[in-house]
């Protein structure tokens, strides 16, 4: 079976910035029984993010995005989309390089990196105040984001699985 890594990106103590991490923590709980799926959290970008994905066939990133959409809006992006629009909050750390460049560099150096990379971006408003909890609209988006990631994880071969996808619905 293909190995998948799910990475929640963001700072869990910076109000809305941590929403990706909160989604990942819920996913970790739901996917704990799946040895082929790794769920982790990180507040890194660029090279470090690329290195985290090494060895996996598929990567799913969940991140906060500051854009013009209403807070809580969930957008599914591909890597190609990153080039065409504002990047989510953490895939482009200017401290090293942005994710597409890091991936290109990693591949050139022979690392096994996933071809299948999906980014779930959740529109946010407040990433400047320290705080444990996202703002209301962003918090409310968490269950739908969790479900969207699960759908995405299982959609290619959902028929062969009997997993508790809807335990909370």
């Amino acid at each position: 079976m293909n190995a998948t890594i799910i990475i929640g990106l963001g700072n869990p103590i910076l109000t809305d910035d941590g929403v990706g991490v909160l989604v990942a923590r819920e996913l970790a709980r739901r996917l704990a029984h799946r040895p082929d799926i790794t769920v982790t959290e990180a507040s890194v970008g660029g090279l470090r993010l690329m290195e985290l994905m090494a060895g996996y066939d598929r990567a799913i990133l969940i991140d906060a995005i500051l854009d013009d959409q209403p807070p809580g809006t969930l957008t599914r992006l591909t890597l190609a989309d990153l080039n065409a629009r504002a990047a989510p909050q953490h895939t482009a750390s200017a401290h090293d390089v942005n994710l597409p460049t890091a991936l290109a560099a990693g591949r050139r150096m022979g690392l096994q990196l996933p071809d299948d990379i999906i980014i779930f971006a959740i529109s946010v408003v407040n990433v400047l105040d320290f705080g444990d909890h996202p703002t209301d609209a962003v918090s409310k988006a968490i269950p739908a984001a969790v479900q969207a990631v699960l759908d995405s994880v299982f959609s290619p071969y959902a028929a062969s699985l009997s997993l508790p996808l809807n335990t909370e619905n």
């Binding site: 953490h90 401290h95 150096m109 320290f130």
Partner: protein, 499 residues
């Protein structure tokens, strides 16, 4: 006076959202230049009311770039807060962990951030001035070594820190992770590779930068030179140490101004507020604030790899010491004591100093991995005292990092203050940006992307981590450069998303 404005917004390849604004006068010369970054709010309020022992885990969330530095400063602040002196074995374990972090951090800066300007060239298209461009220019093998070095040391950091990205091992007076003989051997092997890699990197700097007269001229040019005070932590022999020691400050002539333990920082550092930014500019109390000025009468100081070399009587490890001597001899600095040279003021030489520190970190990691105490199994301390107040400091890659906590008798935080590495350098950065802009942008000169990149180079050499300085996190880095004429109309625009 009418001015026109150039905005570099934000600065590429740096943490957080930064912006450089350059104001031109009627003649097209630079009237002034500022850098601005957004300020995050409410860190102290967030921390107050929490148990102090959470701080190593909270503060390592401040920043995705150097969580290890915050973790270590916080852990040392807890040592002081709970009045518990770590054992020698604990100090060595912590320092070894910290050296692995330094190797990754300095490596990343040189090859992914600061180095591309030299390796690929300052005027190369922005899309090529990155690690891919480095690989293209000097070969796949270098890129492979960079990635291997990072991964090798991330593995050690995870082993010693308990977690890969946000370490959890720091305890008051202790370190939660002891190592086995097998792990020690693995660390020693990694450290040997680190030493080789650091030597290789210094050789690359020699070949690519020092071997190119244009770059040597740029490094030595007045545009990138400032004569300020310097700050860094020194060990008992007054040599460079990243983990522990006393803070030493020397003047532009190299004479010691003051030395103090971290706990006395507030007696020596004051902060200046200016109208154009929320940032506060630290300066030396003993000298006083005279504005953004060079020289012995201005309290502006710099805390960087260059600063750490300038305050030290050399490096404690043999190969780094050789590199240190070569650095000062090559840049024409005279000895002012038996062991120490007059400060080098050429700010672009910071890139070279950073590689010398990389070599020191690698050698020190190797020494520690071979220390008989390093596998001591008892790495926890008993804490019996009532906490009250504690200050912890380390040399973060970007400057002296201070954590200061006060608690009630139950260890609940009542006050938190941090001076993060980059903050020390706010005034020098502001001065460097302005001077580079004034030197490079003159009446009649066509403002190109390459020219503005040379202004950014004055900023980038500090490796400023704006996310850390503002307690923020890495964000997206679109670059927008707007050039306005005296009426405020846009006459040129460079816009690019970093992708």
């Amino acid at each position: 006076m009418t001015t026109k404005r150039i905005t570099i917004d934000p600065i590429t390849r740096l943490e957080g959202h930064g912006k450089i604004e350059i104001f031109l006068d009627d003649q097209g010369n630079v009237a002034n230049a500022y850098f601005q970054i957004p300020e995050l709010r409410g860190f102290e309020a967030f921390c107050v009311g929490r148990p102090a022992e959470e701080m190593p885990r909270i503060t390592n969330r401040i920043c995705g770039v150097c969580p290890e530095a915050h973790h270590m400063a916080a852990t040392k602040a807890l040592d002081a807060l709970y009045h518990v002196e770590p054992s020698s074995a604990v100090k060595k374990l912590r320092e070894m962990f910290y050296m692995a972090f330094y190797v990754t951090d300095h490596t990343t800066h040189f090859y992914a951030l600061g180095g591309p300007d030299f390796i690929v060239g300052p005027d190369a298209p922005k899309a090529e001035r990155n690690i891919l461009g480095v690989i293209h220019k000097v070969g796949l093998e270098i890129g492979r070594q960079v990635i291997e070095t990072r991964m090798r040391n991330h593995h050690i950091i995870q082993m010693l820190g308990g977690r890969g990205i946000h370490p959890v091992a720091g305890l008051p007076g202790g370190w939660a992770k002891a190592i086995s003989e097998e792990e020690r051997g693995e660390i020693e092997a990694a450290a040997r590779k680190n030493v080789d890699f650091a030597l290789f990197s210094l050789q690359a700097f020699d070949d690519i930068v020092l071997g190119n007269p244009e770059f040597v001229d740029m490094i030595l040019s007045d545009a990138y030179t400032h004569r300020t005070y310097y700050m860094g932590t020194v060990d008992a022999n007054d040599q460079v140490n990243f983990y522990d020691g006393v803070i030493r400050v020397v003047g532009p002539d190299g004479q010691e101004l003051v030395r103090y333990p971290a706990k006395d920082y507030a007696n020596h550092i004051a902060e200046r507020v200016v109208p154009w930014t929320y940032l506060k500019f630290p300066y030396l109390r003993a000298v006083g604030w005279k504005g953004f000025e060079d020289g012995p009468d201005s309290g502006v100081y710099c805390a960087t790899p260059l600063a750490r070399l300038n305050v030290s009587e050399g490096m404690p490890t043999p190969r780094a010491q050789e590199a240190y001597e070569k650095f000062y001899e090559t840049l024409g600095s005279k000895k002012i004591t038996d062991r120490r040279y007059a400060p080098v003021h050429h700010r672009l030489a910071t890139h070279w100093a950073r590689l010398i520190e990389l070599l020191f970190a690698a050698e020190r990691m190797l020494e520690l991995s071979q220390d008989p105490e390093i596998t001591e199994p008892n790495t926890r301390a008993e804490v019996h005292t009532t906490p009250d107040e504690g200050v912890g400091s380390v040399e973060a890659p970007r400057g002296t990092l201070i954590h200061h906590y006060k608690t009630d008798p139950n260890g609940i935080l009542t006050h938190v203050n941090l001076i993060v590495g980059t903050t020390n350098n706010y005034a020098p950065i502001a001065m460097s940006v302005k001077k580079a802009a004034q030197s490079l942008i003159r009446q009649g000169v066509i403002i190109t992307e390459g020219l503005l990149n040379r202004v950014e180079m004055a900023f980038r050499l500090y490796d400023p981590c704006m996310s850390c300085a503002t307690h923020s996190l890495p964000g997206q880095m679109p670059l927008e450069v707007v050039v306005r004429d005296a009426r405020g109309d846009v006459v040129a625009r460079f816009s690019q998303h970093l992708n």
